[in-house]
Symmetry: C2
Subunit: 480 residues, 2 copies
């Protein structure tokens, strides 16, 4: 009895899941591929359980309004890739042991790393700040460019690569920054990195000595504080006000300042021009260094961005950090540094000594992606999409979370900071959200000292409007 | 007259090059693709010069013994990809301006970074130690796997990736190490990195504290010493004898030892079993850590490798470093760590805090490359090739450099250490070699203190037999 009841309930779950399958006729992807991907997703998310029987091809084809051949081909593909088994004469079943595509590691998770798994499964949860929209990335174009770059690779890609990056990519980045950020650069000033953490290590090894003081925004980006600490630097946290970081406040003695002037992380404040000029003035008078982290300047929905510090600086004291993990794919692990002209050789030496960390493999691909205009097109599309998603998040808060959450529109970015209106501590709110399957980071985590504000960071970029509305409703329920 | 003579000699070079074209009938690659790739190679290597006329399709088809259609299609492909121009009625010519395949940066090199360029051009010079054969890498297969992994990427590749690496790759590596190195692993013990330098940083941040002592082989790998220094660790250099590193020698107090037991870098000595066991004994009695750098164990031409320390260790004190930059492509920037079971969670925490440096993009590609057997095939092919090239290097030394250089056969590796027989200091020899366009590193550079031996490191893996013979002749001339 027990067993057959379980089977029955599994079956109805499967049927419900299959009934929810929708294929988009106006999608350029063939219906067969859409169907394969949908079924894979249901299998990987354990909505279709191992061993479950998939519906016969004829009724499924009728239900979906596609030809039976499409369904049969999709099933064959699932079988070929090991997601399903075909038993002669008795239909197709979800494979009892799933192939190499899931995030779980049998025999590992259970014994050794439960925290790893639980944090992983949360990483794809709704409202996680910093998650870009990855499903609408032009994967087909990107894959085609990979093939073009590597089927018969250029000689220069095969010899020991320049540890500062693939020169054509550095030229493409210089041209892109000239166009979009008004920075007049020599491509030798651009250094390709594996991301912001490595970039900060390179800067510290080139320009700073153990024990030097670094000014850091508070609130700010805790992973960066750790990086500075590991490098043996003393961090001085400077409380950010309604105009962002203020160089007038800190006591003397610091050798560098890490700032996010375009859009303060995580509060979203933009640093006004006067503060920018004061900061450059400080650097040129004290021989200090400014590290300008321009982490998401691409996503501005209203108004024009202020000029980057780098483009205002005439004394060569600003190092600029850019990244592609947030504008393209999180797994890309490519970012870059722009260093002052006079420091090109010193940085080149550091990088030659440390060895390159950034893979060369995607650099010619990214170069063509930028040079052929796909990057600009992708950014434009995402900007429109994220603008709509921010509006959807605000509408969902107004509708489902009135009296619980409050948030104001922002002209830029990928997340909003919402206030908690019913007196719940933000760490408590974060924990309750996580229990409801929603990642909403507590603002207090981003403060080094006593938090001056509380709130929840809600990411909207990576989630469709329906998911956002649903997640906000669940979040409001959890915070009641 | 001058011009026509030049053309004449270009023409005969082209003819000679084309006559040397050979297509392999038993190769699974279509003859058309083989022909396209061969012609591209001749164009990129500037054997067929820009503007040179390619032979007409009929005689070329006859010479190669293929159908004329194959040749015409191959030419069309070259034209479509910009390698050649078709002039109506007058045949096909190598494109006068080649596509984006060269390393030069106009306007950059000249003004700001001459040292960068000159070191770059030396990087592809003959005899550079550590250079693998990259032209014979199965680029077509690799590019096809890229397309398969990323055209319609698996869900797990798009969400925020596990910073310890793509789980299916970690499983493939565990299976590979079980098969080839006798290591019984749980895939969670495998952590994907961007290479050895990052691996050492991760180990230090997880297991060591600032000021801890680390035992390091002398001679050894200077870039690693710098990495340890930057991490605030004290390095104790232990002179290596004819059996490699000896744990009996060093004074107490060290917390870790970095060793290359399979094949000492750079001298090539293999550590005997008794020393390996003594080292493990030291670690388990002092709670020390052994870092086993197994940097080129794949290339063994005679005999069988001794078991890795990791597979002898029962007390969980060994961390194993592996790399793909030397066995595949230098630009890949993928390596891995194997950590003891009991440390999986501690390492996972370090990596989550530091952020991943290794790109995710090539991880599913490498996983399929290993799982489908291409990696093992490539290693086997390269092992045979490198064995022949080592013999060619020894023959060239005997023939061209008698009384100047002397070297003995080695059972493994990618370089030989040759002795200088005419009393020249090895740094002086290195400088003279560089002037002749040859990179041959002085052995004394690999010593931390007073060098106990002098010599030149000569790489043979990445260079064909003719290049090796020619380079040795030039080197002998320069050292006379």
């Amino acid at each position: 009895m027990e067993i057959s009841r379980t089977r029955e309930s599994d079956k109805s779950t499967s049927d419900a899941a299959l009934a929810a399958l929708t294929l988009a006729r106006d999608d350029p992807q063939p219906l067969r591929i859409q169907l394969v991907n949908e079924l894979k997703r249901l299998i990987l998310q354990r909505i279709l359980l191992p061993g479950a029987k998939l519906p016969a091809s004829r009724p499924l084809a009728e239900e979906l309004g596609v030809s039976r051949v499409t369904v049969v081909q999709a099933m064959d593909e699932l079988i070929a890739e090991g997601y399903a088994d075909g038993r002669r004469g008795s239909g197709v079943y979800v494979a009892p042991d799933l192939p190499d595509h899931t995030l779980k590691m049998p025999g590992v998770v259970a014994h050794h790393s439960p925290p790893l798994l639980s944090s992983l499964s949360l990483l794809s949860s709704p409202l996680r700040p910093g998650a870009p929209e990855v499903r609408l990335f032009p994967h087909e174009t990107w894959a085609r460019l990979m093939l073009r770059a590597w089927r018969v690779p250029a000689e220069g890609l095969l010899a020991a690569p320049d540890p500062a990056g693939w020169p054509p990519l550095r030229r493409a980045l210089a041209a892109h920054l000239a166009l979009f950020r008004g920075m007049a650069l020599d491509p030798a000033q651009v250094i390709v990195t594996s991301g912001a953490n490595e970039a900060v290590e390179i800067i510290a090894h080139t320009l700073l000595a153990r024990g030097d003081g670094v000014l850091i925004e508070d609130p700010g980006y805790p992973s960066m504080w750790r990086t500075f600490g590991e490098l043996g630097l003393r961090t001085h946290h400077v409380r950010v006000d309604e105009d962002g970081f203020n160089i007038a406040k800190p006591a003397g003695g610091a050798r560098a300042a890490l700032v996010t002037p375009s859009r303060h992380y995580p509060t979203g404040v933009t640093m006004p021009l006067a503060r920018r000029l004061a900061l450059i003035d400080w650097a040129s008078h004290t021989d200090g260094w400014i590290i300008e982290d321009d982490y998401d300047s691409e996503y501005r929905y209203r108004g024009r961005p202020l000029p980057a510090l780098t483009s205002l600086d005439e004394s060569g004291r600003v190092i600029y950090l850019g990244s592609f993990s947030k504008t393209m794919l999180p797994g890309l692990r490519l970012g870059f540094l722009v260093v002052p002209r006079a420091l090109v050789e010193r940085f080149a030496r550091t990088i030659a000594e440390r060895g390159a960390r950034a893979s060369l493999m995607m650099q010619p691909v990214l170069q063509r992606f930028i040079a052929e205009g796909h990057y600009a097109t992708h950014i434009r599309r995402m900007r429109r999409l994220y603008g709509r998603r921010q509006a959807a998040l605000l509408a969902a808060i107004a509708r489902h979370a009135s009296g619980i959450l409050e948030a104001a529109p922002e002209p830029a970015g990928m997340h909003l900071v919402s206030r908690l209106m019913n007196g719940i501590d933000d760490r408590e709110a974060e924990a309750r959200a996580a229990q409801a399957g929603i990642i909403a980071s507590a603002l207090s985590r981003y403060f080094a000292g006593e938090p001056a504000r509380q709130g929840l960071l809600l990411g909207y970029a990576g989630f469709d409007e329906e998911t956002i509305a649903d997640a906000v409703a669940r979040l409001a329920q959890a915070l009641k």
